[in-house]
């Protein structure tokens, strides 16, 4: 109670500089930097995959399940294909699918959240009941069913993941929009005569944008995980090289009983690293957005006593 009172005085002194200060604040966090570095490295890897892969992924370059060596850093798979090249190339499609599915999910989730939160009333009721419905369906089970019915294909995987991952975002965005639309400047825009579309695009969306970004980053992690899971279960395009299919092939072709751990672990580690990167980065954005986490009044540290000697020159 007491410090929140004193904070008013300090807050008036400290100059905030809006969005850029927020971004700088996020980047000052060490976890955010670690997450962002991981993600950047993987994105660069995916973009420059053909240049980085030491061997062709469609041709055998060594013996079956050859262990890691100087020529083949991560060993080889059951077809004698270089594992490092597979992980680099597989990352490309895994990440494209992950990003594309996230785009679908964020478009649906952001749209539903905006419309539902902004218009309220029966629109809100209907959209939220639909959201609840999707929320209680076990994701993976439905994904498996739909992929099995539609047949294995990358675009199906994108759509299936996309239409199942939007619910959380929709609810979070709706809650935020509901609070933003009660702000006085939104009322003022209405009083000026601005239409709903203008208010949503110019006043509401910029306010919920950072939250949407944080959710996007966190959803990418889940999308990549789900893509790997579907591919591992053989429900993705079998001809595409992804981290999931790499692991599936190794699993199917007795890599485990052959003791060829290098055929499974590298792709798994890659998935784990990307997910970790997403979480570290997404979480720091969320922390930066939520000033409640920064409140220091529970800190055991006390204010300090200064001797009169060390006074600044402006004291007298």
């Amino acid at each position: 109670m007491s410090t929140s009172v004193a904070k008013v005085d300090v807050a008036e002194v400290e100059v905030q500089e809006g969005l850029w200060a927020a971004i700088r604040g996020v980047l000052r966090e060490r976890t955010a930097m670690v997450g962002l570095t991981i993600l950047t490295l993987f994105v660069l890897m995916a973009i420059f995959a053909p240049l980085l892969s030491p061997y062709d992924v469609h041709q055998a370059s060594c013996t079956v399940f050859e262990p890691p060596s100087r020529q083949h850093w991560l060993g080889c798979d059951d077809g004698g294909v270089d594992m490092l090249s597979l992980v680099i190339t597989g990352g490309r499609i895994s990440m494209i699918v992950g990003f594309a599915a996230t785009l679908v999910a964020m478009t649906i989730g952001g749209g539903v959240g905006l419309v539902s939160g902004y218009f309220g009333g029966w629109v809100d009721t209907v959209l939220m009941r639909i959201t609840d419905y999707f929320l209680v369906i076990p994701d993976l089970v439905l994904m498996i069913v739909i992929s099995a019915v539609w047949g294995p294909s990358l675009s199906h995987v994108v759509i299936v993941i996309g239409i199942l991952l939007w619910t959380g975002t929709a609810r979070v965005i709706r809650a935020q929009v509901k609070s933003v639309r009660e702000r006085v400047y939104v009322k003022r825009a209405q009083a000026i005569g601005a239409g709903n579309w203008r208010i949503i695009v110019r006043h509401v969306l910029p306010q919920v944008g950072p939250l949407l970004i944080a959710n996007t980053v966190l959803t990418i992690a889940v999308a990549i995980f789900d893509e790997t899971a579907l591919a591992f279960l053989g429900l993705s395009d079998p001809t595409a090289t992804t981290w999931g299919t790499v692991m599936e092939h190794a699993f199917d072709r007795t890599a485990v009983s052959a003791g060829a751990w290098w055929a499974i672990v590298p792709a798994g580690v890659a998935v784990a690293l990307v997910i970790m990167g997403c979480y570290l980065f997404g979480q720091s954005i969320e922390d930066a957005l939520n000033p409640r986490l920064k409140v220091a009044h529970l800190s055991p540290r006390s204010w300090r006593l200064r001797s009169l000697v060390g006074r600044g020159p402006d004291a007298l």
Binding site: K7, E12, V13, G193, R202, L305
Partner: protein, 608 residues
């Protein structure tokens, strides 16, 4: 020995990047038992920080030096721990917004007893007895100790917060803006309570506030803070009559006095009202629907809609300013929202230039919105923080498709900003709201309204969130704008002094109705309705000689969900008779008009 002796107090706050902010500079204060000292200053002047330093409750980003001595014992060398033993037993504080800081899941009595237990001054039955005594002392029945904070009204919670501060029998009470969020009538009650407690308990009071009039009514002495320093200190009468520091003089000059200055109501504009009526509201009613759930319907509970305003009639002419005055919940903001077409009305008409806007759909209304613009109370809330000033002022033009080219719009934006006295406009165009002061922000909001060249401006408490020294400027701006002759202004305010100074006519609202309406001069100098009389009698005056307890109405701000029968004001009316309980009065001219009263002066009282 001096009870509280603060000397050379300095407080610094750490800012990011090794910078620091010197918030309190060499402040000295002293208090004797029973003395009431007012600490006055604007936001950021360091007055709250000074009070917190006296409590030893600075945040961890602060560092401090100097002396804070209680009965000759300097507590500063002991740091935070040195203060703890004296907190609440010697010096207690009513924090800003304390009335909203109660724990909702504990009873009020439990929370008042908590500091006694913490300090071991009382426990068990003794503590319960003490809580009862304390509540009685602040004017709450002792039986209310078992109730929860949400069952208390704002005024009662503030009383309870004061009771909590008195729990351990302190000798010094610090009160930080104790009346700021309260209604005028409740403010008067709380100030009366603080004054009474000081003399009854021989308590020393340090009243921290931005409102010089509050200090003038309550304190013996005043210390004026500016930029972290005490710039002037002395007995309140002396400062009122011969302030030495220019800032103190400016502060007194900026505090409007109810009867000082010319009442804005010049008879000329009242006559002009008939010739060019801009806004005519007739019998306007607005009710908010309460939730009527399925279970309510099954249990056949009746719908209990809240009648926010009931049969309000008023008019505004071009070049005229009408002030609507009343306590919170009286329906003054709802009246503005209804005129603006932002809430659905349930009866009556709102004619703007002869067009009844209550009959229009939202879509039909939209192009007409440019004629009626609203200024909101809080300029910190009403501007989009992501918009530069230029974007904010330009937005209405884009909405209404005014100004075909960018250059054309830029010229209109410049003109509007110059009219709002943001000069030169270039200095402000590319700034964001957080880079502006409160007064500048309000001017930006005004410019964004002016850019549409509206005929009617609704201003909802346009200065209540601003610092005292900039209030006068913003009000003077509104005054000049309407004197231009093309625009009428409706100003909603709780402050009768402001209304008296700037408005031509005043409408006093109580529980959704206008109870008195007339020229500002008539309403202020010849009030008819007992409610108006009571409101006038408690307006804090900056002149300490005008200190009077006035007619402080008992009880709380009325609840529009529970409207009394007969005259709505009768439960609080000091002169109510039996017939007031049954007969609902209508607005009528006084039966025995005093000489010189303009016939347009009407009030709704059976006894007037």
């Amino acid at each position: 020995m001096t009870l509280l002796d603060v000397r050379d107090l300095n407080v610094w706050f750490d800012l990011s990047g090794d910078r620091e902010f010197h918030a309190v500079k060499d402040v000295g204060l002293s208090l004797e038992p029973g003395q009431r000292l007012g600490l006055v200053g604007e936001s950021g002047s360091g007055k709250t920080t000074t009070a917190l330093a006296v409590m030893g409750l600075l945040p961890s980003s602060a560092s401090a030096s100097g002396q804070v001595a209680i009965r000759g014992k300097d507590l500063m060398p002991g740091g935070e721990d040195g203060f703890r033993a004296h907190r609440w037993t010697d010096v207690a504080m009513v924090f800003q917004g304390a009335m909203n800081a109660f724990n909702p899941v504990r009873t009020v009595g439990w929370q008042i007893a908590e500091p006694m237990q913490a300090h071991g001054t009382a426990s068990g039955a003794a503590a319960r007895t003490r809580v009862g005594e304390l509540l009685e002392l602040v004017g709450i029945p002792a039986a209310a100790a078992g109730r929860y904070p949400h069952e208390f009204s704002g005024g009662m919670r503030q009383r309870a917060a004061i009771a909590m501060a008195l729990a351990c029998d302190p000798k010094i009470l610090l009160a930080d803006e104790p009346t700021t969020a309260l209604d005028v009538m409740v403010q008067a009650q709380i100030l009366e309570l603080l004054t009474r407690l000081c003399s009854e308990l021989d308590l020393a009071l340090l009243l921290v506030t931005h409102d010089l009039a509050v200090v003038a009514q309550t304190c013996d002495e005043v210390a004026v803070m500016y930029g972290g320093e005490v710039v002037e200190r002395g007995p309140i009468d002396q400062l009122f009559h011969s302030a030495a520091h220019p800032y103190t003089r400016a502060l007194f000059a900026a505090t409007p006095d109810l009867y000082g200055g010319p009442a804005g109501g010049s008879g000329a504009s009242a006559e002009a009202a008939d010739s060019s009526t801009l806004l005519a509201v007739q019998g306007l009613s607005t009710s908010y629907q309460s939730r009527h759930t399925l279970t309510d319907r099954i249990a056949r509970r009746p719908r209990r809609d809240v009648q926010a305003i009931d049969g309000v009639s008023l008019s505004v002419a071009k070049g005229e300013m009408l002030a609507i005055v009343g306590e919170s919940g009286c329906g003054k903001t709802t009246t503005a929202q209804s005129i603006l077409g932002m809430v659905p009305t349930s009866g009556g008409s709102v004619l703007i230039n002869g067009v009844d806007v209550t009959q229009l759909s939202a879509r039909q209304m939209r192009p007409l919105r440019r004629h009626v613009q609203m200024i909101y109370q809080d300029p910190y809330e009403s501007l989009d923080v992501r918009f530069k000033v230029r974007q904010t002022v330009e937005e209405p033009l884009l909405v209404h498709g005014i100004g075909a080219t960018r250059a054309e719009r830029a010229a209109l934006v410049r003109t509007a900003m110059e009219r709002a006295e943001l000069t030169p406009p270039e200095a402000f165009l590319e700034r964001y709201p957080h880079q502006l002061s409160g007064g500048q922000r309000q001017r930006v909001a005004i410019a964004a309204s002016l850019v549409l060249e509206p005929e009617l401006l609704l201003a909802d408490e346009p200065v209540s969130m601003l610092d005292v020294s900039v209030r006068a400027g913003v009000l003077a701006l509104l005054d000049r704008l309407r004197r231009g002759g093309t625009m009428g202004v409706v100003m909603i305010t709780h402050d009768l002094s402001t209304a008296a100074h700037f408005a031509d006519r005043i409408a006093v609202m109580y529980l959704g109705r206008i109870v008195e309406q007339g020229t500002a001069h008539d309403v202020i100098h010849r009030p008819q309705h007992p409610y108006t009389k009571a409101l006038l009698s408690i307006v804090p005056r900056p002149d300490p000689r005008e200190r009077s307890l006035g007619t402080i109405l008992r009880g709380e701000t009325p609840d529009p969900r529970n409207i009394p029968s007969g005259c709505r004001f009768h439960p609080r009316c000091p002169v109510a008779e039996d017939r007031c309980r049954t007969t609902d009065p209508v607005l009528a001219p006084p039966k025995h008009p005093e000489p010189g009263t303009v016939p347009a002066h009407v009030s709704a009282c059976l006894l007037a």
